[in-house]
Symmetry: C2
Subunit: 423 residues, 2 copies
């Protein structure tokens, strides 16, 4: 195994654990939250900012980077680490999530526009060149459709045909080339190419998609043996929607294959209870010694509940997206609600000289007042987006630090209780 | 005089000179280029970025800050230095330029939308709430008109009535309250409230406007004696369009008043030749010992020609605006044209591993390739705007540094020649 994972401490009462993942680009203390760098950049931030914030790991995206600037180009420029000048651990998603975000999410109207247009810094574009969820004709085949009715994403047993959300050009992803592109990008951790289903998919469709995802998992492993950089580790993805037998089957099957780590993806049901149940069905069937990644999850309570159920890795664009929209994370002491976020555009901050969070050690809280951030946000000054992103990402790295310490010191249940008491 | 200005070196062949301006918030080595912080922020940058870039002085705007967040609010928060956490020298413009940018510039179609909507980071808003130049009915009275024909700016002998470009609310600026607002903001250097005319204004109108500007200059001085912070210095503004006798009259009159410094504002004609002539008429009539500021000018050649004619201070939003639009300044050695700018969106940079300018010591050039900036710009990643702004502002501070050294070392004429040889 190219990746080694040392489990350091286990909580007595739950499945929570701390550990260290060793990669060719450094160590990751788990549980860890990774920042999202879809297009080879965490929005508004430099690698230096991320290091100061204490971000250990980034996740970039195969579909988006293959379209722009292109995998060959990044390979020619020395790989993603060199291209973006990030010398620490890096993961890439496989494009499997775009099967959902450009397909069923548009068809079913359950996606976020930010997943389709990651280059839009804040409000969505005035006239998107391609689909808005409303324009999509539902029910005709699998996949979302563009403004003119053409499919953005068509799934068959061998792979997925996309039409670029940028210019309509066709792109084909199959297990082999998704993995090969990820080898070209050169991230430390890469993900299998899967079919990410919708919460609205039927049992029958989800079962059919799961069979595909399992066949593709074998093809991903085969390709991984052929073209990887020695240091690259491949994670398998457990699917199965919110259906217990499918999740159990998938955890058993994917968990039995020689992946370096396991990810839990796809629809996590319609409520937090569903998500917890899915984790409870899945985790006990996964091999104990491999790292576990809960894909796309990043709300504070969801992270704590995920850790309690044995998750080691999280990624989510929400904290930085909240920041850009004015929602800043505050400490438990400052919080007025369970979500622990204030809306900086609120008029009550116009004359507030205090920092966003008086407990916070981030650059923003050390240098600027709520009043100034309120002004920058209202005035749509570009510096606002960076200062807010620094704060929210620092809030996430501090959360993960406190959470790891609570496990190490045998206080995880108290930590969890203190958080959920406000929920 | 609250401001002291030591002239250090003079060029033998031209009016170029170096000096030191001493303010309560530190020294400024002149000739200096100031960064534009219209809304109490230099777009995309923090004070720490600006210090690292070597920016000595910022200029913020009375009209924009009085509208949002409000002068009372900034005063209550301890003034502009505290509000934006910039502890170095600071200047404020008086609102006089908005008499032009919201008035004649719209009427005559000679303004830039960025002067009206400074909160728009890059492309102008999809549907501006207020005027576009095309919508303006020309010829009816002084001032631009909004989409519904209401005037945005009406000039009378006592002052100017604006309608807010943000929400249509009325705002009145007269010499007394422009100066009083600038006292509340608390910048080190402040500017008289004047009427900035258009290059299309007739001789008769420009003469009439100049008489107003001169009467207002006396009222500004009177107000300055009443409510200023001890450390604040007031600059008078020379107007008169491209009309020689008016410029000479204005330089003589404004130069004879007890201002701490002098600025040259308004229409600088229709060509670089006009601008040079205006400086040649004006400068010799200004007192030798006071600092001279050429308002709103920031092209490299214009700065060099301004220095040659005796200018000490420059401000211009163009270098950071160019940066956001993809135009990055390169050194003379790298330049292909007189403007010394490359368009980073050009496909020839897609695989270019070199920095923007291999001579440059800025953060961007030390850490990122042209290929990566090309990608970030095409993908409209927010981090692009900051990295590009850092580079272009550093290019300006390096230019000013080299220019000062050429004067100090008696090589200014060679320096000027080397630059203009490419023009």
């Amino acid at each position: 195994m190219t990746l080694t994972f040392d489990i350091r401490h286990r909580d007595g009462a739950t499945l929570a654990r701390t550990g260290t993942l060793h990669t060719a680009h450094g160590e990751i203390e788990t549980p860890a939250f990774m920042a999202v760098a879809t297009q080879a950049a965490v929005k508004t931030l430099t690698p230096e900012d991320l290091e100061k914030i204490g971000v250990q790991l980034l996740i970039a995206n195969t579909y988006h980077l293959a379209l722009r600037p292109g995998a060959d180009q990044i390979a020619e420029l020395g790989g993603l680490h060199a291209f973006m000048n990030w010398q620490r651990p890096l993961m890439t998603d496989s494009g499997g999530f775009q099967v959902f975000s450009l397909g069923a999410a548009i068809r079913d109207g359950v996606g976020k526009i930010a997943d389709i247009f990651p280059d839009e810094p804040h409000p969505p574009p005035p006239s998107p060149p391609l689909p808005s969820p409303d324009e999509v004709q539902s029910g005709e085949g699998r996949g979302g459709r563009g403004a003119k009715g053409e499919a953005l994403c068509q799934i068959d047993d061998d792979g997925v045909s996309f039409r670029s959300h940028l210019d309509g050009k066709r792109m084909r992803l199959e297990p082999e080339n998704s993995i090969h592109i990820q080898h070209q990008l050169g991230a430390d951790l890469i993900l299998a190419f899967d079919e990410c289903t919708s919460p609205l998919d039927s049992y029958e469709y989800t079962r059919e998609a799961l069979a595909r995802t399992h066949r593709w998992a074998l093809r991903c492993l085969e390709q991984h043996g052929k073209t990887r950089h020695e240091y690259q580790a491949l994670f398998g993805i457990v699917q199965g929607g919110a259906y217990r037998d499918l999740r159990e089957e998938s955890a058993g099957f994917i968990g039995s294959l020689p992946f370096d780590g396991l990810a839990i993806g796809g629809s996590l049901g319609k409520s937090k209870k569903d998500m917890h149940a899915i984790l409870d069905w899945t985790i006990p069937r996964l091999p104990e010694g491999k790292p576990r990644h809960l894909l796309g999850i990043g709300e504070i309570h969801d992270i704590i509940e995920g850790v309690a159920r044995g998750i080691d890795l999280f990624d989510c664009a929400a904290p930085t997206r909240w920041a850009r929209n004015g929602a800043l994370i505050v400490s438990r002491a400052e919080a007025l609600n369970a979500e622990r976020r204030i809306n900086i555009s609120n008029a009550r901050f116009a004359l507030d000289r205090s920092p966003v969070d008086s407990d916070c050690d981030c650059y923003t809280c050390q240098h600027f007042s709520r009043a100034y951030l309120h002004h920058l946000h209202r005035a749509r000054e570009l510096s606002y987006y960076r200062l807010a992103s620094i704060h929210n990402l620092r809030a996430m790295t501090r959360l993960m630090h406190d959470l790891r310490r609570s496990v190490t010191e045998g206080r995880f249940s108290d930590f969890r209780l203190a958080e959920t008491a406000r929920a």
